[in-house]
């Protein structure tokens, strides 16, 4: 299961981040590491991007980026 499949109101725990380089570092900076709980809050009116709560902060990710993050439901 990947992060993009979460719908508003659903939660998951990060298992693995399947990307390297810039995006990976940005995600790590935001505290998205293995074991972090992420909840999907709301989505943009075209469904993409979606907003997630991570460690008390709200961040927006595009679906094709969040598809690179494995989670446990």
């Amino acid at each position: 299961m990947t992060l993009n499949s979460l719908m508003p109101g659903q939660k998951g725990i990060i298992k693995k981040i399947n990307t390297s380089g810039e995006l990976r570092r940005r995600l790590l900076d935001m505290g998205l590491i293995k074991g972090t709980e992420v909840s999907c809050l709301f989505k943009s009116f075209c469904g993409d991007p979606k907003a997630y709560r991570v460690r008390g902060t709200v961040i927006a990710l595009r679906n094709n980026d969040s598809a690179l993050i494995d989670i446990m439901g």
């Binding site: 790590l28 900076d29 943009s44 009116f45 991007p49 927006a60």
Partner: protein
């Protein structure tokens, strides 16, 4: 002053205490900076506002301080230019003490940066800002416990309410007496072993100029760019020292043998930081009261990004801002113009009194003075209304929601959603929008944002748009008139957004080939705007700044235009010669030579385009009082204007070359003549094509509007 572009590397004097102000984006760093230095650096409620760094001085309790505001960064590890410049400053430009500003409403994430800096700098003060916001959200922070956990002097403040500033200043004054025993970040045991072996080798080289442990870690990571800078800073070989190189390579190999991917070293390091931050927060530092909830923000967000309501609110807010601007500007504009006219009469009598030659008094009063008076009376009121309104939305935190809403569309155009933020800045001033494009990480997407910024009409073009739409589209009634003018400006801005997207698609397929890159946008919590300070700040910082620039351009322009209208060649003025020359091109575009000449001469500032046109029409090179719009209409109509001419002019006002300031800024940001030329050509071509198309359509349909 821009860090890395010549910040004085040495303090002015040893007596001055140099303080670096670091922190995540949008934590109120700039507010604190302003508070301490009494400066007026502008802050906004969205990430990445401080793209140009400020340096300020202040004196407290007899001690002199120099405060350097570093760019807001989430970490010092990633390779964005902002993070690099912040890291290099902390690393090599010895500050006496670093203050890390954290956001109390999301402390855990903020601690990541604080921990990184605590490993790099010897004296770090942790300053937890927005304590009041956290309290409102039901988050209690135990500052004492936090300080004990971090092992660093820690203070809680609410910069917006000026709470806790005294305690922070006390700490800064006594910075030498405070105790700094930063918590040691524990890495994986294999990494710890490697680091301590390297540490032993480099101690005699770094000699306390760089922290050993931190340097050892960077050597192990193999960050060549950074270690080279370390060599330069130390003045001797560190990374190329044979002994050090040998140990580093040995340890890297050992790690690989132990099954640790050396390329993922940073992952382990970041994970240790994040987990340390989590641990600290779990130790009685943060308590969420049972009432703690984010529900209010969430509800608001769901509305503002909702399927139908989201876009509707965006357009309505835009229209509302424009409407208030139009309505509010009418009377003050009139009053200002009358005031200036009164003053002009006094000036003329004064000129007569001191028997100034007529040529000179005309040149100064009817040329320079009138154009300046025009620019001030036409520009100041809309700016003084628009900027505070816009700043309110910014303070509230609405702008990142616009970026969130529009990102889907920008993605389809292979651009970045943050471009919506730079376009919003462009509404105020395109040059600011161009500089602001630094918030976009990808170089390609940043260029897209820079090149298309002038497709959004800036504040300097509003008066022309408002005047033309009021004169030509409004038939009766003041209320209806204002509504129509606001409506038309709104349409032009929305059209600008669509054209921006179309041009972005074009560029992504031609000059700037590529796909949209990853997009991580922080959505800061909504904050109640501080209305009073918003008005003061936006008036002082933005309005006066933009107006000052416009006036300094308008004055010489007034001189040149007066000269052109009064110097005659074979009995014809230079002004009419030029407009005749431009007439054929103007006619094709549904304009005329004089209008086009107005745009050409208005290159230094868009505000003076309409006054130039009127001066040229009047034929005497003197700007006449057009305070009554009826009179303006008569002047234009007697010069052959129709409704379709006004529409062409509105189109070309929205889409033509950027003003000289904006172009210079593009040159500065891109460091390339090619991109600067493209920034000129793109909007110009677009405007010409649209105007010619509109004119053709009119003649095809035989429209006589």
């Amino acid at each position: 002053m821009i860090i890395g572009e010549g910040l004085e590397r040495k303090k002015q004097s040893d007596k001055i205490v140099r303080v670096a102000l670091a922190g995540n984006p949008n934590v109120g760093k700039s507010t604190l900076f302003n508070l301490l230095t009494k400066g007026h650096q502008h802050t906004g409620n969205w990430p990445g506002k401080t793209v140009v760094n400020a340096v300020g001085q202040f004196k407290a309790r007899g001690v002199e301080f120099e405060l350097v505001d570093l760019p807001g960064t989430y970490s010092l590890m990633a390779s964005s230019p902002e993070e690099e410049s912040a890291r290099d400053f902390l690393c090599f430009d010895k500050c006496d003490v670093a203050v890390v500003v954290c956001d109390a409403t999301c402390l855990e994430r903020n601690l990541n940066l604080a921990l990184q800096i605590s490993q790099l700098c010897s004296r770090v003060i942790v300053c937890v800002n927005l304590m009041d916001e956290a309290e409102k959200k039901g988050i209690d922070i135990n500052i004492k416990a936090l300080g004990e956990q971090l092992g660093l002097p820690t203070v809680g403040i609410s910069a917006g309410k000026r709470r806790g500033i005294g305690r922070l200043i006390d700490m800064l004054v006594n910075f030498k007496e405070l105790s700094y025993f930063p918590i040691k970040i524990k890495y994986k045991s294999e990494i710890e072993l490697a680091v301590s072996s390297i540490e032993k080798e480099i101690g005699h080289i770094t000699k306390g100029m760089l922290p050993k442990r931190w340097t050892a870690l960077k050597l192990l990571e193999g960050n060549e760019k950074l270690t080279k800078k370390c060599d330069e800073y130390l003045g001797k070989a560190l990374s190329t020292n044979p002994k050090v190189t040998r140990v580093v390579n040995e340890k890297r190999q050992e790690l690989v043998n132990l099954g640790i991917d050396i390329n993922k070293l940073q992952d382990y390091i970041v994970a240790s930081l994040v987990l340390t931050a989590e641990e600290i927060c779990n130790k009685d530092v943060i308590k969420h009261r049972p009432t703690a909830n984010y529900q209010r923000d969430l509800r608001l967000d769901k509305i503002l990004t909702g399927k139908f309501v989201g876009p509707l609110v965006m357009i309505l807010l835009l229209a509302l801002v424009m409407w208030i601007t139009v309505v509010g500007a009418n009377v003050p504009s009139q009053l200002l113009w009358e005031g200036f006219s009164f003053l002009e009469k006094q000036l003329i009598s004064l000129a007569n009194f001191i028997s100034l030659p007529t040529v000179i008094s005309n040149l100064l009063i009817k040329g320079v003075y009138r154009v300046v008076a025009w620019v001030v009376s036409v520009m100041l009121p809309p700016m003084a209304i628009f900027f505070p309104l816009f700043t309110l939305l910014e303070d509230l935190g609405y702008l990142p929601r616009i970026a969130f809403n529009l990102d889907g569309a920008f993605k389809k155009c292979s651009a970045c959603g943050k471009q919506a933020l730079t376009m919003c800045m462009g509404l105020g001033c395109n040059a600011v929008g161009v500089t602001g494009s630094r918030i976009i990480d990808s170089k390609r997407e940043r260029l897209l944002s820079i090149l298309t910024n002038s497709f959004v009409p800036c504040n300097g073009r509003f008066p022309t748009l408002i005047a033309l739409s009021t004169v030509f589209f409004v038939f009766e009634g003041a209320i209806l008139g204002n509504l129509t003018a606001a409506f038309i400006v709104t349409i032009i801005i929305v059209l600008g957004v669509f054209v921006t997207m179309a041009v972005s698609v074009f560029l992504s397929k031609t000059f700037l080939k590529g796909e949209s890159s990853a997009f991580v946008l922080e959505m800061p919590p909504f904050r109640r705007p501080r209305v009073g300070s918003v008005i003061v700040r936006s008036l002082l910082d933005r309005t006066i700044f933009v107006l000052g620039r416009a006036v300094s351009v308008a004055a010489p322009a007034g001189l040149v235009i007066w000269l052109m209208a009064n110097i005659k060649i074979d009995g014809v003025t230079v002004l009419s010669l030029l407009s005749e020359f431009l007439d054929p091109l103007g006619k094709i575009m549904g304009l005329d030579g004089t209008i086009l000449l107005g745009f050409v001469l208005g290159f230094p500032a868009n505000e003076i385009v309409l006054p130039i046109i009127i001066m040229a029409y009047m034929g005497n090179g003197v700007l006449t009082d057009y305070s009554s719009l009826e009179q303006l209409k008569n002047i234009l109509i007697s010069n052959g204007w129709e409704l379709k001419t006004a529409i062409s002019m509105i189109i070309f006002t929205a889409f033509h070359w950027p003003c000289s300031t904006t172009l210079l800024t593009v040159k500065k940001e891109t460091k390339s003549l090619k991109w600067t030329a493209l920034a000129f050509i793109l909007p110009t071509l677009t405007g010409m094509v649209l105007c010619i198309g509109w004119n053709l359509l009119c003649s095809l349909l035989n429209l006589s509007l």
